[in-house]
């Protein structure tokens, strides 16, 4: 039974890292395509494009943070895993879901917004500030989901 609980906890950690990472990869990819299009015609926009392309990458970092938090909580880095019941393992897995799901979806949404913003700076380079704020708004929900995951993980007693 101890092993089963650990499996659920590790599944939660893997979901947080994996899904949020996928969201970021897709988002960065979308923004990158738009950026490559802009730079084909105007290579001077590299700096602004890079900044916007990097924005959807944060979800992957949040997912990784949540995943490591779980591993630390389980004591896996110390070499001796904590005893985890099935109920505790499932609690940890559900606690990871906010950043896993929101990370996936917000990464894609932020990538789309970043691509649109790259289009904005291509036409109006003077509006770079506003162009960054728009995709940054999507970030709020990734941050909130990370906060929720951390609070939920902290409330679980092992």
């Amino acid at each position: 039974m101890l092993v089963d609980g650990l499996v659920f906890a590790l599944l939660g950690s893997a979901l947080a890292i994996g899904l949020a990472g996928i969201g970021s990869a897709i988002g960065v990819g979308i923004a990158g395509q738009a950026g490559a299009g802009v730079m084909t015609e105007d290579p001077g926009k590299f700096g602004q494009v890079l900044l916007l392309q990097a924005l959807p990458g944060t979800q992957g970092i949040y997912g990784l943070l949540a995943g490591f938090w779980v591993l630390i909580k389980l004591g896996l880095f110390g070499g001796t895993p904590a005893s985890v019941t099935v109920a505790q393992g499932m609690q940890i897995m559900f606690a990871c879901l906010p950043i896993a799901i929101v990370g996936l979806l917000s990464g894609i949404a932020q990538g789309k917004t970043a691509a649109a913003s790259i289009g904005l700076i291509a036409r109006r380079p003077e509006e770079t500030g506003k162009a960054i704020i728009l995709p940054a708004m999507v970030e709020t929900y990734a941050v909130l989901s990370l906060l929720a995951t951390i609070l939920l993980l902290n409330s679980i007693k092992l």
Binding site: A34, G37, T40, E41, K112, A115, G119, R123
Partner: protein, 335 residues
């Protein structure tokens, strides 16, 4: 149809290249230009287009060449990109149909081909095909059109209008199958374009008093317009045309409600209204960040710009008044 994200790269490029599109302000400046030299200096300032106009010898041939090559360069480049083959395919088809017309006309006039018009094929292959100098390979649709032109020229050697209609039919047939591949709003747009092309062809044929057999060469089986509906334009009276257009649902192309005049200026005005309508129906998609519509819209806007620049620069070359030129100009993509 491709996924909407397949066009992200092209939309990015379009966002930069849109700065090369003409605006009402540029058009006004060109209209106010005192002569062709001044107009060319204004053109040299337009981003991503101006370089081609810097230091050119101001002749009609040079202007035509620059405009054609500039637009063809964008179209052929876009067709090589992901998602671009279909979205730029419409414009490449148009180049192909024009090149085909020119090649056949050269062959008919027995003139050597001195200039090559840009297309997806080598125009010299067409001339070699008709003169029987070699067996060339062509895609089936294209080969079919060539055989039809060959048959027409065997029975009616001087029927240049018939040749033109057959080339246009090749373009319209290609557009019809492209419409299904593009899907969504562009499918409807392509269908509208085909109907407008039929109306233009029929009204021009009416003015030139062509026989139904010649106009029939423009027609191919489609679900948009029946052959008898097209041929009707040649037999009804001028007074009945507005009513007939109303019946078909296209009375809005008439410059004056309920009035039709069978003269070339009025026909040119109708064609201008059609171009404006086609452009305005794409304008609503111009700010979309994904999908083929903003890319297609940009390319169509570019083709309208080329038309406007030909009118303006040729007008300046011949010293036409600004007011006369203004009446011929199409609307801009960006107000």
């Amino acid at each position: 149809m491709n996924g909407e994200r397949d066009y992200t790269y092209l939309v990015g490029r379009v966002r930069v290249l849109e700065r090369s599109l003409l605006t009402p302000r540029t058009l006004d400046a060109l209209l106010r230009a005192e002569d062709l030299d001044q107009a060319l200096r204004i053109m040299a300032e337009v981003p991503y287009l101006g370089e081609a106009f810097q230091g050119i010898v101001p002749s009609l041939q040079n202007i035509d060449k620059i405009l054609t090559e500039h637009f063809f360069g964008i179209v052929s480049d876009f067709t090589k990109q992901k998602g671009g083959a279909d979205v730029a395919g419409f414009f490449l088809l148009e180049f192909d149909a024009t090149a085909l017309k020119l090649a056949v006309k050269h062959f008919m006039a027995k003139k050597p081909l001195e200039k090559v018009y840009p297309a997806s094929f080598d125009m010299r292959k067409i001339v070699r095909f008709f003169s029987g100098e070699g067996s060339e390979y062509f895609p089936e649709d294209f080969a079919q059109t060539l055989r039809e032109i060959q048959e027409l020229l065997e029975t009616q050697p001087g029927n240049a209008q018939g040749v033109e209609f057959l080339c246009d039919r090749f373009f319209l047939k290609g557009t019809y199958s492209l419409a299904n591949r593009l899907g969504g709003p562009l499918r409807k747009w392509c269908h509208l374009y085909i109907i407008f092309a039929y109306l233009r062809g029929a009204l021009r044929a009416r003015y030139q008093e062509r026989k139904p057999d010649t106009l029939r060469l423009l027609y191919f089986d489609n679900s948009l317009l029946e052959e008898r509906e097209l041929l009707e334009f040649l037999v009804i009276s001028d007074e009945k045309i507005p009513e007939y257009l109303e019946h078909l649902g296209f009375a809005f192309v008439l410059p004056e409600t309920g009035i039709f005049r069978n003269d070339p200026y009025y026909l040119a005005e109708i064609e201008r209204k059609m171009d404006n309508y086609l452009l305005s129906s794409l304008r609503q998609y111009r700010w979309e960040a994904f999908g083929p519509e903003p890319v297609f819209g940009f390319l169509f806007a570019k083709s309208i710009d080329v038309k406007n620049l030909r009118i303006l620069l040729k007008g300046k070359y011949f010293g036409l008044e600004a007011d006369i030129l203004r009446k011929k100009l199409r609307e801009c993509y960006y107000e």
